[in-house]
Every structure is written in structure tokens, then in C-alpha cells.
């Protein structure tokens, strides 16, 4: 691969320049979504639940919702935005008339999606601190999980967006993929208490489960060697998908 970091950053700067102009429209809805879940489910429903996983329900929910904020931040960027730049606005085509190469463009987009996921994850994390839901100092260890979650979902999303031919497929991506992940990745209830046997192994495939485990371990200050598996899953799946996406972006943009 021929990646040039300065060119990757120039692509990142393009998105940053655009975001500075439009962040008010973008940031607010994305930011409020996990806050609303925290209030309605965590505090509302949570008041009928005496404890879960050894803590109050809202404290159980908080670490998972941090990763959801990061997942959403990355996913919006690399789905609709990437598709439009590739197919409608000819943004990528025009970048390739400059010294920027296809791989630079891919990594610039992913780096930007990680940045955006960090903005949303970080903003939500600040809300948790304000509400006293991020116990000091261990919860601070959850901060690196935010960009890691961003990287994972940027890689999944961009690999998907570069391959599909019609924008309509994103409704499947969100409704049939991200929403089930959101509901069944240990965020709202401990998965291992509801599943048994082979299903527990199947559940290990769910991408969001792994960032949630890392985040919750940090919030609770309970660390075990098993967390290396979660970290390895995120790193390996991201690398494999980025490698695949690099091939796709070359094929789509250069002939």
C-alpha cells in the first residue's frame, strides 16, 4: 500500500473544514440520542430495577451508551456521506486529480470518522461525568475505547459503503445491523445470563459487544485477561476490513 500521511491529513482537513461549517446541524441530534436513552431507560425504566450487574441500572447502562455514541458518530460519516462523495458529488474523483491517492483518501475518511466518533463519544462522556456516572479514576480508562469503537465501525461502514450500488441499502444497514447490535450487545442486559450453550459463541461475533465489555470493565475497574480477546477482535476486524476496503476503493476509482 502506498499511503502518505500528509495526504491522509489533507483529506481529514477537507472534512474538518466542512464540519466546522455544519456542526450545529449535525452535532445536536447525534449528541442527544444516547442522552435520551440514558434518561428514559436508565433513569425512567431503571427506577423499577433494583440493581443489575452489581450496580444501579443507570450505572450499568452508562458505559455501553458511550460506545453507542461513538458507533453512531462513525457510522453516519462513512455511510451516507461516503456514498454521496463517491457516487454523486464526485469528491473522490476530483481528489484523485491531485497527488492524493486512493489509499490516502480511504484512510483520511476513516481518520475523520474516528475523529467524529470521538467528538460524540467524548461529549457523552462529559455528560456522564456531570451526572456522577463516571467513577474516578478507572472510568478515564474508557476514553481510549471511544476512538477504538470509532475505528471498528468506520471500517465496517466504509467497507460496506464502497461496495453497494444503491443508497437505499443503508436503511438495511441501520435497521437490520446497527439497531440489533444496539439492543443485543450487553448494553441493556447481561447477554451471558440470557443465552446458553452455542448461542454464547454466536454472540461473540457481534462487533459492538467487544467495545461495550472494554468500556464496562473500565467503568467498574474490573480487569481480566479475557479483555485481550475483545481488544484483539476490534483490532483484527478493523485491519481486515480496511485491507478489503483499500482494494475496493482502488477498483472503484482507478481503472
Amino acid at each position: 500500500m502506498r499511503v502518505s500521511l500528509p495526504h491522509v491529513l489533507s483529506v481529514w482537513q477537507r472534512n474538518f473544514a466542512m464540519y466546522r461549517r455544519t456542526w450545529k446541524l449535525n452535532l445536536l441530534p447525534n449528541f442527544f440520542e444516547p442522552v435520551l436513552y440514558l434518561l428514559a431507560i436508565g433513569i425512567g425504566v431503571g427506577s423499577y430495577i433494583s440493581e443489575m450487574g452489581g450496580t444501579s441500572y443507570v450505572a450499568f447502562l452508562a458505559p455501553g451508551l458511550v460506545t453507542v455514541a461513538a458507533m453512531n458518530g462513525a457510522s453516519f460519516e462513512v455511510t451516507y456521506n461516503t456514498f454521496v462523495r463517491l457516487n454523486f458529488e464526485k469528491t473522490y474523483e476530483s481528489m484523485l486529480t491531485t497527488p492524493v491517492q486512493a489509499e490516502d483518501l480511504l484512510f483520511g475518511e476513516v481518520l475523520w470518522a474516528v475523529t467524529r466518533s470521538s467528538i460524540y463519544g467524548g461529549a457523552f462522556f462529559i455528560v456522564l461525568i456531570a451526572m456522577g456516572l463516571a467513577p474516578f479514576p478507572y472510568a478515564l480508562l474508557a476514553i481510549p475505547v471511544i476512538p477504538l469503537t470509532g475505528l471498528l465501525f468506520a471500517s465496517i461502514g466504509i467497507a460496506f459503503s464502497l461496495r453497494i450500488q444503491t443508497i437505499d441499502l443503508f436503511s438495511f444497514y441501520f435497521t437490520m445491523f446497527l439497531t440489533p447490535l444496539f439492543l443485543f450487545s450487553d448494553i441493556f442486559f447481561p447477554l451471558e445470563e440470557r443465552l446458553s450453550g452455542a448461542w454464547l459463541w454466536v454472540a461473540e461475533l457481534l462487533p459492538l459487544l467487544h467495545p461495550v465489555r472494554l468500556s464496562r470493565a473500565a467503568f467498574h475497574g474490573e480487569f481480566s485477561a479475557a479483555l485481550w480477546w475483545d481488544f484483539a477482535y476490534i483490532a483484527l476486524l478493523s485491519l481486515v476490513l480496511l485491507y478489503v476496503a483499500a482494494g475496493t476503493v482502488r477498483r472503484r476509482l482507478t481503472t
Binding site: 482537513q13 473544514a17 464526485k90 497527488p99
Partner: protein, 314 residues
């Protein structure tokens, strides 16, 4: 620019370049040389391979065979180096709509790794050169088509390219904007920039290009200056007649024009002296009126070569 003049390489050098997409042959053994400082035009009907040829020059499309050297460099071996020295204005504008012209230019400057200082000074120059200053801080989505087109060209000039590639630069623009863009191209050439363009407008090609190649089905069917092509393919002057197609053959045989073309309801005869042809016609066939006696233009050449109309050779 002094060193540029000593450079013996053509700026663009294609040698027997061939490209297929699947079973479709898009560019067929195309050879062309663009000398430094020239304005070189690629003409041809839709699907003739013009855009593919341009994409190969800046290295986004790789040829199946043949060699492509730009500034003497093999494009495939070092596309970054080649692209840092050329600018491309694509057929479709690719601007960031929520941002202003100044911000759009800065984004492009960063793709070329210019410093913020260089970006500021070149933006200033280009705002003047392409008359963008009046709307320099207005979001692009609020600008007219002509304004957006000028901004697209300004973008491709941010790196002060030695070679400017324009893919249908004036399609869809009103005549005043076209004329003003043509004079910008003249100014750039006066500063030593080489220009390679495609166009559908023969008038534009005649006005701007000192050399051109006409492509049809990916093949170069003619190459030369506009005057050479007119002389070689047709003749200096044209006589247009309103006659029914059945009479074409008889008239062409009787008057001995060099070439003739049927264009819709008209028969066009080409000769070195079309006035003389018109006189003989009035004497021998008074029933046929000459509609026009004029200089032959590139449009005639284009129609003759790409077979867009039915032809009766003399």
C-alpha cells in the same frame, strides 16, 4: 519558464495507447504528442474515448498497452509527482457547497500540501484572475453556474500547474462566460502553461487550439492544426445548397467539388473557390439556389470525419 523551453520532451507523450473496459475497446492505439506551451484539443462524438484519454494522462486510468509519459515521467511509475505538476478541471464541478470559494480553494491547496501562507497568496491571485472576488465569502451553493465553473478552474490552478487539463470546460455555460474563459486560457498560455482540453464545440476548438486530434471509436481519425485539417480533409471554402438528396450525386458529378457532405436538408460542396462554383451553378442550374458561400470550418471537418451525416464523396 526558461528551463522549460530547453526541455526536449513533449509535455504529454502517448505512444500506441490502448484501453478496453471489458469487451469494449475505448482507446485504440492512440499516439499523440502535446508540445510545451501548446493548446491541444481532443475532439470527437460522445463515447469516442476523450475522457478516458484524459484520465490516462493524469494516471487514474491505466492503459492495457502502450506508454504514457507526462513531463518525461512514466505516469504509472510516479503518479503523485506527475499530478503535483498538472491541474485538472473535470466535466462536473466537485465543489463543497456549504463552503465559500476561499475555503474551497484552501481545501484543494492542502491536497497539494501547500503551506497556509502559499494557500493565502495563491487564493488572492486566483480570486482576481478568475474574477471571483465579489463572491469570495458566499457559500458555493448560492453561486451561479458560471461562477462555480470559474471556481472549479481556479481550484485546478492552485498548484500553478505546468499542464492544465480541461474536460469540456464550457459545456452548459452562456456565451459571455465562455468568451471570458477563453481569454483566461489565452492568458495562461502566455504565461507558459500547456493546455490539453476536450470539447464538443468546434468553435471553441478553432478559437483555442493550435493542434487537435479527432477521435472516433477510440481511434485518431485526423490530427493537425485546424487549418491543416480543413485543407487536408475538405477544402478552404464551402457552398451550401438546398437540394433534395436524390439530386446529390448528379450535382456533385457535374460541378467537380473536392468533397461534399449532406447535412440535413442541405448539400455542402467544398472547393478552394466556392464563389466560382456558385457562378457556374447559377449559369447551368438556375433552379438551384446557393444558400451560403463561406469559409470551411472545423464543424464541417468533424462531420466529414466522424460520419455523423450521410456522405457523397467526389
Amino acid at each position: 519558464m526558461a528551463t522549460a523551453l530547453e526541455n526536449p520532451h513533449p509535455v504529454v507523450d502517448l505512444e500506441r495507447v490502448t484501453k478496453s473496459f471489458g469487451a469494449r475497446l475505448v482507446v485504440d492505439a492512440l499516439s499523440l504528442q502535446v508540445p510545451r506551451g501548446a493548446c491541444f484539443g481532443l475532439l470527437g462524438p460522445n463515447g469516442a474515448g476523450k475522457t478516458t484519454a484524459l484520465r490516462m494522462v493524469y494516471g487514474v486510468t491505466r492503459p492495457d498497452s502502450g506508454s504514457i509519459r507526462v513531463f518525461g515521467i512514466d505516469v504509472g511509475s510516479d503518479p503523485r509527482q506527475v499530478r503535483s505538476r498538472l491541474g485538472v478541471t473535470l466535466q462536473e464541478n466537485a465543489l463543497i457547497e456549504p463552503l465559500t470559494p476561499v475555503e474551497n480553494l484552501a481545501v484543494f491547496g492542502r491536497f497539494h500540501l501547500l503551506t497556509e501562507r502559499e494557500i493565502r497568496s495563491r487564493t488572492e491571485e486566483l480570486l482576481d484572475f478568475l474574477e471571483l472576488r465579489s463572491h469570495a465569502d458566499v457559500p458555493v451553493r448560492a453561486l451561479s453556474g458560471g461562477f462555480q465553473r470559474r471556481l472549479s478552474i481556479a481550484q485546478s490552478l492552485m498548484n500553478r500547474p505546468e499542464l492544465l487539463i480541461l474536460d469540456e470546460p464550457t459545456t452548459g455555460l452562456d456565451p459571455a462566460v465562455r468568451i471570458s474563459l477563453w481569454s483566461r486560457v489565452d492568458q495562461l498560455r502566455a504565461l507558459g502553461t500547456t493546455v490539453l482540453l476536450t470539447t464538443h464545440y468546434m468553435e471553441e476548438a478553432e478559437r483555442l487550439c493550435d493542434q487537435l486530434v479527432i477521435l472516433d471509436g477510440g481511434k485518431a481519425v485526423a490530427q493537425g492544426s485546424p487549418e491543416e485539417l480543413i485543407d487536408r480533409v475538405l477544402a478552404a471554402e464551402a457552398l451550401e445548397l438546398d437540394v433534395r438528396p436524390e439530386e446529390d450525386a448528379a450535382i456533385v458529378a457535374a460541378f467537380g467539388a473536392k468533397r461534399s457532405l449532406r447535412a440535413g436538408s442541405r448539400l455542402i460542396l467544398y472547393a478552394d473557390d466556392a464563389g466560382e462554383l456558385a457562378l457556374r451553378l447559377r449559369e447551368q442550374r438556375p433552379e438551384h439556389r446557393a444558400r451560403a458561400v463561406r469559409r470551411t470550418n472545423l464543424e464541417d471537418v468533424f462531420l466529414a470525419l466522424t460520419g455523423a451525416q450521410l456522405e457523397f464523396g467526389a
